[in-house]
Point group: C2
Chain length 384, copies 2
């Protein structure tokens, strides 16, 4: 929901840099636009328009799911040099960081005058070197709000409700469901993460236990839950893969439906429902968290300032990624640190053990303290 904040932050910083920056170009649909020479002149967009774009969810330049090969990266470099690009910013997750790394390596090999900076963005919050990533706080806010509403519905109607949350390998977004809780016995009562092996038997007995105590049960489960051998539970229902070779998880309700069916069959509870939050988690307008918006803006600006400062100092053009670090201390504050792009490329991080309850079906208070400032205050709930 905040990717355009990073774009606008970068454009504003480039404009502020004065004569040291010439044209400011945006590639339509990421590297596809670079390769097909499809650019927008971002200097021609008014500041007012840019502010509206910044507050709009989903990449205003367009996105692509095309993972560039080594050969593509060589062609990307050619295309950038043809357009006399001196600074190339690439907004995205670890795959984007890796593409940025390869383009930079080609540039270095060719002795080309190109600086490359990766700007982090992923609702999965799974980038190495980062306390959290732009996009996460807002998506987490959506999930927490959704679960709060869903728990109220479940309170009114009873039964079992299962919500499937995005996050293939990392449970951060599913874990954010726990922020919905307003007190004892409020849901989600069970939280299942990709970081812990999912046992259908254990799941059914967990649900039974909550239901027999409260007459109701709200479950948040990650789309990426997997069995003890590491096989995705969702692989039972789908074999479609995206261009990165990953199994398609979102855009289908089958995992939730299967879990609901399992509970019905094994417990005899009549009212069992599942919702799969799907793309709403990352695109819902008006849901951005304040700190997430501000940090996404800052990280885009920082990428430009970092590269210009390095260039002014005549420093070598090593590709960097701007990482978000949390400052020590009681009040929430962050700082931005440029790290070598290799450190965030390819690999990802999972939820730390300290954030996952020993039971394997909940988060810890440490997670709640960590996540709360990222999501911001939620609408109050009044019960009778």
């Amino acid at each position: 929901m905040v990717i355009n904040q990073s774009l606008v932050g970068a454009v504003a910083a480039a404009r502020d840099a004065g004569a040291s920056v010439g044209r400011i170009l945006g590639a339509r649909h990421g590297i596809d636009g670079v390769l097909s020479d499809d650019w927008i002149d971002l200097r021609r967009v008014t500041p007012e328009r840019l502010e509206t774009v910044a507050a709009t969810p989903s990449a205003a330049l367009g996105s692509c799911r095309h993972k560039p090969t080594e050969e593509d990266c060589a062609r990307i470099l050619e295309a950038l040099l043809r357009r006399k690009v001196g600074l190339f910013l690439y907004i995205g997750g670890n795959d984007s960081a890796d593409a940025a790394r390869i383009v930079a390596a080609h540039a270095a090999k060719a002795g080309a005058p190109l600086r490359v900076v990766h700007v982090p963005k992923t609702i999965d919050c799974d980038l190495l070197e980062n306390d959290h990533t732009p996009g996460y706080g807002s998506a987490a806010r959506f999930v927490a709000c959704a679960l709060r509403g869903d728990d109220l519905d479940n309170r009114a109607l009873g039964g079992v409700k299962i919500d499937i949350v995005m996050g293939r390998d990392a449970g951060f977004l599913t874990a954010a469901s726990a922020l919905a809780r307003t007190g004892r016995d409020s849901g989600p009562h069970l939280v299942y993460l990709p970081e812990r092996a999912f046992s259908p038997q254990k799941f059914v007995s967990d649900v039974k236990a909550v239901y027999s105590r409260l007459g109701r049960c709200v479950v948040a489960a990650s789309e990426g839950i997997r069995d003890s051998r590491g096989v995705l539970v969702a692989s039972k229902f789908s074999n479609e893969r995206d261009s990165h070779g990953n199994l398609q998880l979102s855009g289908s309700g089958s995992l939730g439906d299967w879990l609901a069916h399992l509970v019905k069959e094994k417990t005899g509870i009549k009212r069992v429902r599942a919702d799969t939050f799907g793309y709403l988690q990352r695109t819902f307008p008006g849901m951005a968290s304040e700190s997430d918006s501000a940090e996404a803006r800052a990280v885009g600006a920082e990428a430009v300032r970092y590269a210009l400062a390095r260039a002014a100092a005549g420093a070598p053009a090593e590709a960097a990624s701007i990482s978000i670090r949390r400052r020590q201390g009681r009040a929430y504050a962050v700082e931005f640190v440029a790290v070598p792009v290799e450190k965030v490329a390819k690999n990802t991080r999972s939820m730390p053990d300290a954030f996952i309850a020993k039971s394997g079906n909940d988060v810890t208070p440490a997670f709640i303290s960590w996540a709360r400032p990222l999501v911001g205050p939620l609408p109050p709930s009044g019960l009778l």
Copy 2:
């Protein structure tokens, strides 16, 4: 999302009535609470607390899906008289109106001193005698926001996106998806309603036509779409029925998954995704539309004032329902009119023909003009 506004409106009006009203009781889980003598003393809830409750989605008193039999209604009357209830308010849709009608009939037959008023509430907007119903504007706001975000996502990534919206028999909520549009070529590009026969062949060719023109397509389809014989398309996948004998439609992603599969198979388009909005549509916190909140509050208050005025005038205790009428004129305004409860019980209304495009896959400008004031302003969208 605004049912508690009606509750709080009624409580406030009863408090304002002074000594003519004694105790103010709320039954937990609707008629289940009446039958099991499970009440909350609403005079003991502070006004501050009531305001928080009013702004909280989902019935704070709890809900039930138990449709009362004639015998139940006789027992409900007994229970109410035992508690010396003189005014019985029943918040809900046409089934609730019918239950209110039956209780009132039993009271009349027994010559019991009970007044019954039905307070309308349904996100389906399908009550007779009403321009629209409390709950609709806020759920419609959620749907419009969701589609606006989804269209931005589809713009960025391409492909086909199918969104399944609540509404078993009436298409009002699915139609609200069209409010998401910001200009030419913005989605939803196709809107399928229960009021028009759904042909899978026509659907596939509609999608193909949009996709070949734009390289993308966003579809909003009602969970209640049905074939030319009136059979629900969703009946292919589910045979679970609720206590009203209705096929379970929500809480499963199978209709969306089937439509997505159909498009993939018949068109060869690779990226086809479906989301089923499910319960979020009616429970998402912080999404209530302003006019919907105000009208829900007013209709609860009006129910109390109407009954007290009739009692003061010594008028007969015929059961009524408070209906919402739209005033003629350019500025949006409503008035509340008490109608005999029989007029809103049992039967429902569908989208008028004037709201449905001749093509059968869209709404008309007349629908947009009608719906816009109910939903209120949406977050702005900035495109590049």
